[in-house]
């Protein structure tokens, strides 16, 4: 591991937002109820695929308390939203393509009137045959979800190839195949999609909204509604969770449209939980087909796979999600020959988009399932098999990128290998209580950081010395709960040698902060943090040189920053930062600096179908271990112990680091054990939190998170993003634990009691390996 950045003492920095949030005094978008509020809501007919003949709003318009009912013809712009591909109507005109598509927008004086009116609108629909799986969508002659596309229902097809996979596979002494099915997952954030918007008298559309991408939102809203993005101002207060589900417009375009129709009045839109399920983005369901070839000693030689992601009715980030899945499809291993094919396919299902583990959570089930099957086939210790093939610094990864970045997978695996939960596993398994089977599973996973090549991953940080001598960070990357804002405050306090309380945070505001991209891709602390450290360097020079004038010293190096002061230790003289704050003009109190994430220098000549986002250079790595107990009578899996060893570079703040890992694991355990959006002909059957189950405090173990010591030289203080990698381990890990009991690799998630019972009954218990 490169160790060029000296270790710094990291005093525990409690999160800047913890106390106010616990007390209930922090204000989220959902907490805004400005006076004179207008309530807005969408009418969604609930049909998955149909022509819209007419939308009848007359009865609704006549209801007292109704201000306006809008339809597609009232949308002034292109009426199309979307991050990369603009294919999703704000209000559908000719056709609805999934059950959550809206055809009308109601503005009402009260929430009661709104509810009443939404029940009075009707749509005259001519049902069209729908397609509800990618297989149906890919059949010749399948109904088209979007007309006029030469690729039909294929949103994107891409190949990543290296070496000669087909030939190499033929020569391999060991060959295995596998098929894996993954469910649709909901983000389950507690604050549903919402916001408040106002069209001001000078024609500016202002919005406080629960969003991961305030700067990009301006363009999406502007394009859809025919507004100049410069006349749109977005503020993103702390979010009540997002996990990818608030990346890209949710309420924004509808809210903007509503506000344009009641100038001068604030409009509020809040999706209730059912609407959140119906219209919110989801994790892509996927089917993965693998063929893996290895030598008899376990060395991996060749891999072919085909990943098919169901992106639902609109593109959203479907192509990009599939891209990242494909780039990770061969796992964090050295494999010389690969041919990875990926498809993102339109269906009439709910729209899939970004979610923590962005396409990789799916692929992890595939590559780790294959590794586990290979260990069983070769009767090899699964940990040794992974160690033997693990990527190391300087290797070329399966996508063809030379890893000049930090790679700590071996250290993660070693951490697990020596841990008592692993070394004592046989004994623990042997002590299973009656009617209980015990098994231990392992998974090695990774996750890229940043946007990847082709889309500049840039951040611009602004730091101000306030007149009272404290500092303000103009955060321009939304904090959806991961604590990046607190990390910014910590970086500044440490770098400028100030008390934690001397740094205040401004949450993203497109008018006051500088564009720095979305809160996503594990990039929030890395990119903005790097920019912020550059701003700190400029600020330090500024403070010392301005103080030097007052203290009459011409040697800057003789001055130092101390909490609240610039000091000249030799003479004992000093100047308070508060005095400097008053001395300097506003312009002179501000430092702005930017950072651009490096990209792979010699990109491989493959993956050419990806216009943006391929390949990536930085990855976080992890090795996970699960000890599970299976109830033979009910098929219920209880996770007794869970260990995650993570390489996220250097740890800036242990508490926030472990928060991210524990939270990612929790979401991953939900994905592994119970979460599945149940659909019937594109309609969501599980649209409440009692039918779509999220893990409760009784379902999850006391996860143990360990950080391996690493350092990413390009990261702020040596760190890498760890927001996503924790999500990717639990499913393959639990699947491996279950397979160690049944002798059979599960091919379908989640691992529900029915599926577990079936697996238990189908096969007698097999001999344990290793």
């Amino acid at each position: 591991m490169p160790q060029s950045i000296p270790p710094r003492p990291s005093p525990p920095h409690p999160r800047a937002d913890g106390l106010a949030k616990a007390c209930g005094t922090e204000r989220y978008a959902a907490d805004l109820y400005p006076p004179g509020l207008v309530w807005a809501g969408a009418f969604r007919p609930g049909v998955a695929h149909a022509r819209v003949r007419a939308v009848h709003t007359d009865r609704a318009q006549a209801v007292p308390g109704v201000i306006r009912v809008l339809t597609a013809k009232d949308v002034p712009g292109t009426n199309l939203q979307g991050i990369v591909h603009k294919d999703q109507p704000v209000l559908c005109e000719d056709k609805v393509r999934h059950a959550g598509d809206p055809v009308a927008l109601v503005l009402a004086e009260s929430r009661e009137a709104l509810v009443r009116v939404l029940g009075l609108i009707t749509a005259d629909l001519e049902p069209l045959p729908g397609v509800f799986t990618p297989e149906e969508a890919l059949k010749p002659g399948a109904p088209l979800i979007h007309d006029g596309r030469p690729q039909g229902n294929i949103l994107l097809r891409a190949v990543i190839a290296k070496g000669r996979a087909a030939q190499a596979l033929r020569r391999c002494p060991v060959r295995l195949t596998g098929v894996f099915h993954l469910p649709m997952q909901d983000h389950g954030f507690l604050e549903t999609q919402n916001g408040v918007a106002l069209l001001t008298p000078d024609g500016v559309l202002e919005m406080d909204v629960s969003t991961q991408a305030p700067f990009r939102d301006r363009f999406e809203i502007g394009h859809a509604l025919g507004l100049s993005p410069w006349n749109i101002r977005i503020r993103a207060p702390y979010l009540g969770g997002a996990f990818g589900g608030k990346d890209g417009a949710t309420v924004q375009c509808l809210l903007g449209l509503a506000a344009m129709n009641v100038p001068g009045r604030p409009v509020k839109m809040v999706w209730d939980r059912e609407e959140c399920f119906l219209a919110g983005y989801k994790r892509h369901p996927a089917t993965l087909r693998y063929t893996l070839g290895a030598e008899a000693d376990g060395r991996l030689t060749a891999l072919r796979c085909r990943l098919v992601y169901d992106t639902g009715a609109y593109a959203h980030l479907g192509g990009e999600v599939m891209e990242l899945g494909l780039e990770h499809a061969a796992g964090p291993y050295r494999i010389e020959h690969v041919r990875l094919e990926g498809l993102a396919v339109y269906t009439n299902n709910p729209v899939a988009g970004a979610m923590r583990g962005f396409g990789v959570a799916q692929a992890s089930f595939g590559f780790e399932g294959m590794m586990d099957a290979l260990a069983r086939r070769l009767d090899m210790d699964p940990l040794e098999l992974r160690l033997k093939n693990a990527l190391r610094p300087g290797d070329v990864n399966p996508a063809g990128v030379r890893l000049t970045s930090s790679v700590g997978l071996v250290e993660c695996l070693e951490t697990v290998r020596t841990h008592p939960l692993w070394t004592g596993r046989r004994q623990w398994e042997a002590q299973a209580p009656p009617l209980t089977r015990r098994g231990v599973g392992l998974a090695a996973v990774f996750n890229a950081m940043g946007y990847g090549r082709g889309l500049p991953d840039m951040a611009v940080a602004k730091l101000e010395l306030l007149e009272d001598g404290r500092f303000r960070v103009y955060s321009s990357v939304a904090d959806m709960g991961q604590g990046n804002a607190s990390a910014y405050a910590q970086l500044v306090a440490q770098d400028l040698n100030q008390d934690a309380g001397a740094v205040e945070l401004l949450q993203p505001d497109t008018e006051r902060c500088h564009p720095s991209g979305s809160s996503s891709a594990g990039r929030t602390t890395y990119s903005f943090g790097n920019a912020l450290l550059k701003a700190c360097t400029a600020m330090r020079v500024k403070l010392l040189s301005r103080a030097a004038m007052v203290l009459m010293r011409d040697e800057l190096t003789s001055l130092e920053l101390a909490p609240g002061r610039v000091v000249h230790p030799a003479s004992g003289r000093s100047l308070a930062l508060a005095d400097l704050g008053r001395l300097l003009s506003r312009d002179d109190r501000v430092c702005v600096a930017e950072f651009l994430m490096p990209v792979a220098q010699d990109p491989p000549k493959t993956g050419t179908a990806f216009p943006i986002g391929f390949p990536h250079l930085f990855f976080s790595y992890a090795a996970h271990l699960a000890r599970v107990e299976v109830d033979e009578l009910t098929g219920r899996i209880r996770v007794a112990d869970y260990l995650a060893a993570t390489d996220g570079g250097r740890v800036l703040d242990p508490q926030r680091f472990h928060q991210q890992i524990e939270g990612g694991v929790a979401q991953g355990l939900g994905y592994a054990l119970m979460e599945e959006v149940a659909l019937d002909q594109g309609r969501i059957l599980s649209d409440t939190l009692s039918t779509y189950l999220l893990p409760t405090s009784l379902d999850l173990p006391d996860t143990l998170s360990l950080a391996v010591d690493g350092c990413e030289d390009t990261g702020p203080r040596g760190l890498k993003g760890v927001g996503e990698v924790g999500m990717n381990g639990p499913l393959p890990c639990l699947a491996a634990a279950l397979a160690s009991i049944t002798g059979q690799r599960p091919d379908r998630a989640p691992l529900t009691p029915e599926r577990v019972l079936r697996a238990l009954n189908r096969k007698p218990r097999l001999r344990k390996q290793a």
């Binding site: 949030k21 616990a22 969770g241 991961q482 928060q659 524990e662 929790a666 409440t688 939190l689 006391d702």
Partner: protein
């Protein structure tokens, strides 16, 4: 109809529509925004309040049901200047991420600690099982509640 109740120590006397839900009354009419509405149907716990010391879901109650009661929300337990030991423990132990569940969690935990000074880890998990948290995986929340219990026991 007119209702009288005590909200976070303050006497309230209000005219409310009989079908106004308690969570709406608190949030929209009284600007007590600690209780959040995560589902509106009793499934997430974000709207938790204490009514006469009992843990209740304000989204399932009508405003009228508050009449004559004593209602406590997280704000009533303390604020950032004078936080309750539960608030302090939540912040110190990293029990807060997005924080949308936190005021409800704090209230649910306060309900437990009001009855039981020395709960086990298992009991804390059981009592909090109606309060969903999507961010933390609960480990640090349980840690925080147990730590707060220790602090509260240590008080004279």
């Amino acid at each position: 109809m007119t209702i009288r109740f005590v909200l976070n120590g303050r006497e309230m006397c209000l005219d409310v529509a009989p079908d106004r839900r308690a969570v709406v009354l608190l949030r929209e009419d009284l600007a007590v925004l600690g209780p959040k509405e995560g589902c509106g149907s009793g499934e997430c716990g974000a709207c938790s309040v204490l009514v006469d010391g009992e843990h209740r879901l304000s989204c399932l109650m009508l405003a009228a049901q508050l009449d004559g009661r004593e209602v406590l929300t997280s704000e009533g337990l303390g604020d950032t200047e004078t936080p309750h030991p539960l608030h302090q423990a939540f912040a110190a132990h990293g029990a807060v991420q997005c924080g949308f569940c936190s005021p409800g969690m704090v209230v649910a935990a306060a309900g437990l600690l009001g009855k039981k000074a020395r709960p086990s880890r298992e009991e804390v998990r059981r009592v909090l099982s109606g309060n969903l948290c999507r961010c933390t995986g609960y480990v640090k929340i349980v840690d925080a509640v147990l730590a707060a219990a220790r602090v509260l026991r240590g008080r004279p």
